[in-house]
């Protein structure tokens, strides 16, 4: 029998954007088992909801994570609106879609850069982030902040984007789309990227479904499951299909995310075309009623996120629970790591798009 050693991976590692710890049980160069360990960045945000006004809690919900911050704020607000039966005006729904898709583009470009850095392609990493900076400029122009948008509130959105501004944004977005094509073409066609990623971290269709994988992990195995199809916000009125690949390996997940960037651009153009001229918010009166519950599911760039809120009749919520996509993807990642080489471990860990600050709010 070959000699077994245990190699610790993380919590500090150059490829990890956030700290997670894995104990890799190795036989020579092959990983036999991976045991995860989290808790380095637990801030107790769910407990904070019991002592903070539910409208102010939006600011805390947005700061659960820096990369997926807008959709956390949107999900929280939608869940509270569901508890209190508030009807959000149409323009607010379309604006949330526009900002949500911009958030998705910036997150995927960030991930493409990190993935390139993980297998050593530093110039591709720098160029991906250069394109992302242009998008963050548009975000700052429309919301006031580059990373924390601060534009969702219970009852609607806080700022409006006027129609002339939307037209000028469309031109800038088309320019950014052209620049992104240069980046994603390298991922799709370059031989060195393919040699490094194809065939590693393979997850079969049934395994992914049974282990509870979500987001691009699931769609890369051939299952067309996208939570935006539930039709929340204005997604029910736009025409689009989930992006699906069939190989189930790291390369397929990379292609799914690259193609979702263009799907997101297309959704923004559709939303800008169809946006109506109504109010942007509705007045919030009272508190979430006692005993009311809401399960709100949204699609973050990393997968399906579930918000469970329980009202208590006062201005403090009884329970605020977020089940983030990376939490659900830990089990498939641990299974995908079995049998891989040590040099492939960073690629596979990054391929679930780990957002550990979301995982351990």
């Amino acid at each position: 029998m070959a000699q077994r050693t245990i190699v610790p991976f993380g919590p500090q590692h150059p490829v990890l954007p956030e700290p997670i710890h894995l104990d890799l049980v190795m036989e020579d160069e092959t990983v036999v088992e991976a045991i995860p360990s989290i808790g380095f960045i637990h801030r107790g945000l769910e407990k904070l909801a019991e002592t903070k006004d539910f409208q102010e809690m939006t600011y805390v919900a947005e700061r659960i994570c820096g990369i997926c911050s807008f959709i956390h704020g949107q999900g929280y607000c939608q869940a509270v609106e569901d508890l209190m039966n508030l009807q959000v005006p149409q323009r607010a729904k379309y604006l949330r879609v526009i900002w949500g898709e911009m958030s998705r583009i910036h997150s995927h470009l960030l991930w493409l850069g990190l993935a390139a850095d993980a297998f050593g392609f530093e110039s591709l990493f720098m160029h991906s982030w250069r394109v992302r900076e242009k998008l963050l400029d548009i975000v700052e122009e429309t919301t006031g902040g580059r990373v924390i948008f601060g534009s969702c509130k219970v009852g609607g959105v806080r700022r409006n984007i006027e129609n002339e501004k939307l037209k000028s944004i469309t031109l800038e977005l088309k320019n950014i789309e052209k620049m992104s094509r240069e980046i994603t073409e390298v991922f799709e066609k370059d031989g060195s990227v393919k040699r490094r990623l194809a065939g590693t971290g393979v997850l079969s269709k049934d395994d992914a479904y049974a282990l509870g994988a979500v987001g691009p992990m699931l769609r890369a195995t051939g299952i067309a499951s996208d939570t935006r199809k539930r039709g929340y916000a204005a997604y029910g009125e736009l025409s689009w299909e989930p992006v699906v690949e069939t190989a189930g390996d790291c390369y397929a997940r990379c292609l799914v995310r690259a193609r979702e960037v263009y799907q997101a651009f297309d959704l923004i153009y559709q939303a800008i075309d169809k946006i109506p001229d109504t109010e942007i918010d509705v007045k919030v009166v009272g508190n979430p009623p006692a005993g009311s519950e809401s399960f709100m599911r949204l699609e973050q760039p990393r997968g399906e996120v579930v918000y469970y809120l329980k009202g208590s009749g006062t201005k403090f919520l009884q329970r605020f629970r977020v089940r983030t996509p990376t939490f659900a993807n830990i089990a498939p990642m641990v299974v995908a790591l079995k049998g891989c080489q040590l040099a492939d471990v960073p690629n596979i860990v990054l391929t679930i798009d780990p957002c550990i600050s979301c995982t351990e709010r």
Partner: protein, 125 residues
């Protein structure tokens, strides 16, 4: 594309102007709506304490009796809630970020009592 598909993009950028700015010699102009730091026109303030109630991080302290308005710059998250809540529109969001500090201090603004100065000049006459 073979093995060196990024060649065209990289040489293009190597031969053209850099994408980065030479900060601090060239500074970036922020956008009009950028949320930077809070400024108060203290003379218009009526000390109603609405901004203190709406602040999610408890960064604002309003002292009604002494007519002093204080903000802890390091607690402020530039969320704009106080600007939206102020009924007298004396709070404004500036586009520049508050500068780095070496100690935790609180910025204090005291309202000048112009009324008492006017009364003092009246009694003097």
């Amino acid at each position: 594309m073979g093995s060196f598909g990024i060649f065209k993009m990289v040489t293009g950028w190597a031969l053209s102007k850099p994408a980065t700015r030479l900060y601090p010699f060239v500074k970036r102009e922020p956008y009009a709506g950028t949320r930077g730091s809070i400024e108060i026109d203290i003379q218009k303030c009526t000390f109603c304490t609405l901004c203190q109630k709406k602040c999610p991080t408890e960064a604002i302290l309003v002292k009604r009796q002494e007519k002093i308005w204080e903000i802890d710059r390091l607690r402020c998250i530039s969320c704009n809630a106080c600007v939206d809540a102020c009924p007298k529109n004396c709070l404004r969001m500036l586009t520049g970020y508050s500068p780095s500090v070496t100690a935790r201090t609180v910025d204090s603004f005291a309202q000048e009592q112009l009324k008492s100065a006017a009364e003092a000049s009246k009694t003097a006459q």
